[in-house]
Amino acid sequence: MTDISADLLALITTLKMAAVTTVILLIIGTPMAWYLAKWQSRFKVFFEAVVALPLVLPPTVLGFYLLLAFSPTSLPGQLWQSATGSQLAFSFSAIVIGSVLYSLPFVVQPLQKAFEQLGDHHLEAAAMLGAGPIDRFFSVVLPLTKASFITATALGFAHTVGEFGVVLMIGGNIPGETRVLSIALFDHVEAFNYANAHLLSAGLLIASLILLSLVYLLGNNFNKKQQGTVKL
């Protein structure tokens, strides 16, 4: 396989990993953020700290313990193997699970802040008008916190694309399965392919910059629109 097609494969793997991770994070992160925002207990700080843990934990440390957990000789690894029939460590699923844990605070924290600032009166009004919980979420909460959802999605996606330490440990750098861009880049540097490394980092940098700018542009537009409707 030529270097270019190998890099392309790594790019596709990266995008796939980041997309799957972001979707999963939005699905599990939203209720988590909601409960953390609404929950009033002194144990709340503990759970907030747990969510924030990946921010301070070195990725290689997280990766090392995940590797131990995903190993075919450990309980979680065995459970996975008996449930799905394939090994968890060094698979695409493994790097997605690792990324979900690693990028969790980047999705939960902005959402939690948004839910906290959202007053109860909108929801109460909607409930009075007969809207059920799911309807209330999609037609009241979601439109009001759209900007935060965009931020959470962008941060979760971007952080996963840039991930290195966790994937290096539990992924095993397997082409088409767990070799992502950051690792392909590292490989090029290690193999003295500086030209390829420069090309790849420049591409990654420009693509990330465009993606993030677009997302923030989108977020700003939503904010303006929202302010407009409030004024009317």
């Binding site: 796939k16 090392f64 590797l67 075919p72 460590a89 440990m169 397997i174 088409g176 290690e190």
Partner: protein, 275 residues
């Protein structure tokens, strides 16, 4: 509620399209390698470029789908221990292959030395005249971590042998592995460093080779992983790397071939007699 469904559809549709596109492109990209089951070679980062050059001449390379996975020896060892789907492992040392053998994770008798590493003194800022340049040097010196990297251990042994260790000990910049040390010297962040000679040879840099009798041989060993389902193929590649003409090629790539080592050991003995 219909409004909600419509809204959802609006939002989900682009996502679905992206998802399908990704799946399709992924399937296309994977189409080729899937024809044959890949043979996965886990190789220590410092040997990866050399292995790539050697494998380019593999007689039946079009029939075999070789995947090279390079990382630090320690990382690869850890991954193999936890079930990584590798067939062949080319380590940068002999310690990890020995450990894997003790842990019964390799095919019996597959552990073989495939090359000996050499170390060299190097500066990216100017040409060096000889090892004596270190005698009155009081600046920073880059070496790989002697506790974890075999090339770092060799550097420490050579510096001790040259009676320079006490003098440089407090001015060392230790890299995580020999590649990091190479980068530190190459970027001119550190004026002097002891790097792998293979790194200099492959990048066409000039350095001073430290004579092999100043340090214990850095034997790099390979093993075939027990869980491999393609032992025969792995064995074939192992034989290929050890075969005479490829061992000759290693010399140009900065390594010492396996047959050279009885010579070094003899020299070492001569040296100890002198001491």
């Amino acid at each position: 509620m219909p409004k909600l469904i419509q809204k959802l559809r609006q939002k989900l549709l682009p996502l679905c399209i992206i998802w399908l596109a990704l799946q399709a492109s992924h399937a296309c990209a994977l189409d080729k390698p899937k024809q044959t089951k890949p043979l996965r070679i886990a190789v220590a980062a410092n040997f990866a470029p050399a292995l790539k050059i050697l494998l380019a001449n593999l007689p039946n390379k079009d029939a075999i789908n070789v995947q090279m996975i390079s990382a630090a020896t320690g990382t690869l060892y850890l991954q193999i221990k936890h079930g990584a789907p590798f067939d062949l492992f080319l380590s940068a040392d002999s310690m990890r292959p020995e450990l894997l053998e003790q842990e019964k994770l390799i095919i019996a008798d597959s552990r073989k030395t495939y090359a000996y590493g050499q170390i060299a003194l190097w500066s990216a800022t100017r040409a060096l005249s000889g090892l004596s340049e270190l005698n009155h040097y009081s600046g920073k010196l880059a070496i790989a971590n002697p506790d974890t990297a075999p090339y770092g251990k060799a550097a420490q042994q050579a510096l001790t042998k040259l009676s320079l260790w006490p003098q440089v000990q407090n001015n060392l910049i230790t890299g995580m592995n020999i590649n990091q040390t190479f980068q530190q010297v190459r970027s001119q962040a550190v004026p002097f460093g002891i790097v792998a000679y293979s790194q200099l040879a492959m990048n066409k840099y000039q350095g001073i080779i430290i004579p092999p009798e100043y340090y214990q041989p850095i034997s790099q060993q390979l093993v075939i992983i027990k869980s491999s389902q393609q032992v025969k193929l792995a064995q074939q590649i192992s034989d290929f790397i050890l075969q005479e003409d490829n061992q000759e090629k290693l010399v140009q790539l900065g390594y010492l071939p396996i047959k050279s080592i009885p010579l070094i050991e003899k020299n070492n003995q001569v040296n100890t007699q002198y001491d």
